[in-house]
């Protein structure tokens, strides 16, 4: 992590709970957007590196973006593993009690709240979204 951070010492342990999942994700995406990878502790028992993802613009949506995949380097399974966005939230921040945890560069996440405020209403979580914060479940 120090190789990727400006000072070599600005990596922090970032922990939040499920109720603040969207803030937590905004910090993660902001770091990745500045090409600084994030070490994620997935569901308390598994760790790996996130360094990218994929999204696409939903046609005829007026600029809505669907967040499709996260790229996770998994020490058990292999590099560039894809998670569907909704399952990534599930993997990382179980709603059954875990804190969401990541080791992240504080300097790389400086603009997270601005990004969240600016873009969060324009993002739909791919993979079903299933009733999560920002998940925009299918209309009934």
């Amino acid at each position: 992590m120090s190789a990727y951070t400006s000072s070599g010492s600005d990596a922090i342990w970032d922990a939040d709970d499920y109720s603040n999942l969207d803030y937590f994700i905004a910090r993660q995406i902001t770091s990745i957007d500045t090409s600084i990878p994030v070490l994620v502790i997935a569901g308390s028992f598994h760790a790996g590196i996130v360094n990218g993802g994929h999204h696409h613009e939903v046609p005829d949506s007026g600029g809505m973006h669907e967040w499709d995949y996260v790229y996770f380097h998994d020490p058990q399974i292999g590099p560039d593993r894809y998670y569907g966005a909704d399952d990534w939230l599930n993997e990382m921040c179980s709603y059954s009690g875990d804190a969401c945890e990541q080791i992240i560069s504080s300097s790389a996440t400086g603009g997270w709240y601005n990004n969240y405020s600016t873009y969060s209403d324009e993002v739909v979580v791919g993979g079903g979204g299933g009733g999560r914060p920002g998940g925009d479940p299918p209309a009934v």
Binding site: D17, Y18, G43, S44, F45, H46, H54, H56, E57, V58, P59, D60, S61, M64, E66, D68, Y69, D74, Q76, I77, G78, P79, D80, R81, Y82, Y83, G84, D86, D87, N90, E91, S94, Y95, S96, G97, D98, A99, V124, G126, G127, G128, G129, G130, G131, R132, G135, D136, P137, P138, A139, V140
Partner: protein, 283 residues
């Protein structure tokens, strides 16, 4: 459209590999969230506009071919605007194999005992584990987990080069696991099924374990760590809510200190997994 027609004509799909035996659970879901699960299912089934973000062609697929079509729809839509030369090499190879009619797809049904099971949004009772083999080489190029709802859960492409040359180990055959278990525990475990779980023992969705029952006990065959007995006689543990996080970690450390593991059974239920030594008696 032409591309899709080529795929439809040339795709070699193996349909017979899915397990149809009745799935079983150690810790079934409560009824707490069933209304929300139904609402999600109704919403998905009523989404008929292919342009809608949450549209998939076969909501809650029942066959391997339907799960594969759901995956391909989601995956193609994700990369539809990406020029071929900008795709990752593994992604480009995937589309070349599929569009070239060289994809042989097989599938298995895996019961989900991970913490995503029984959640407030969806049940996630099981998923389809799909394997894509390039018929030209006979090599598995991609492994995909498609959730019960039809949405992609996770996938990995085989790297083209470098240190990581292979996908995770091949998924073990159920009959093979039953045979190994019968020798090991001197009973006749049956009802083998694939399961995914988490904890200090990880049965990944892309590399699941095999669970078996026999002699009134439940066993687990981990692909790398061998056999375990699920010690439900000691009682299932429940950890719910943020306040239980430290208790969960304490329990996992205590299990490890005894050379045992903590294994999830659903969103809140956990069990201790005890290593099984060769020749163990079933009772």
């Amino acid at each position: 459209m032409r591309r899709q027609a080529v795929v439809a004509l040339s795709l070699f799909l193996v349909l017979g590999a899915v397990q149809v035996a009745r799935a079983w659970d150690v810790a079934p879901c409560s009824n707490e969230h069933r209304a929300a699960w139904k609402q999600f299912e109704r919403g998905l089934r009523s989404t008929t506009d292919p342009q809608a973000p949450h549209y998939i062609p076969h909501p809650f697929p029942e066959t391997v071919s339907a799960a594969w079509e759901d995956f391909l729809f989601y995956h193609r839509r994700a990369f539809a605007g990406t020029p071929s030369e900008e795709l990752r090499p593994t992604e480009r190879r995937f589309f070349e194999v599929v569009d070239g009619g060289r994809a042989k797809v097989t599938g298995r049904r895996v019961v989900n005992w991970a913490r995503s099971r029984c959640g407030p949004d969806r049940e996630r009772a099981f998923y389809f584990l799909l394997s894509v083999v390039d018929e030209a080489t006979g090599i598995e190029i991609t492994r995909i987990a498609v959730d019960q709802s039809g949405f992609v859960s996770s996938l990995i492409h085989r790297p083209l080069e470098g240190e990581w040359q292979d996908l995770p180990k091949p998924v073990q055959e159920l009959g093979e696991a039953e045979q190994q278990a019968s020798v090991l525990v001197r009973s006749r475990p049956a009802d083998a099924q694939y399961v995914a779980s988490t904890g200090t023992l990880r049965c990944d969705v892309l590399l699941p374990c095999v669970a078996l029952r026999g002699g009134g006990r439940t066993y687990l065959r981990h692909p790398e760590r061998g056999f375990f007995r699920l010690d439900s006689e000691r009682g299932l543990m429940k950890f719910t809510g943020g306040a239980d996080q430290s208790a969960l970690r304490d329990a996992s450390q205590e299990a490890r200190a005894r050379n045992e593991h903590l294994l999830s059974l659903n969103a809140e239920s956990w069990v201790v997994a005890v290593p099984v030594a060769a020749g163990s008696k079933p009772h």
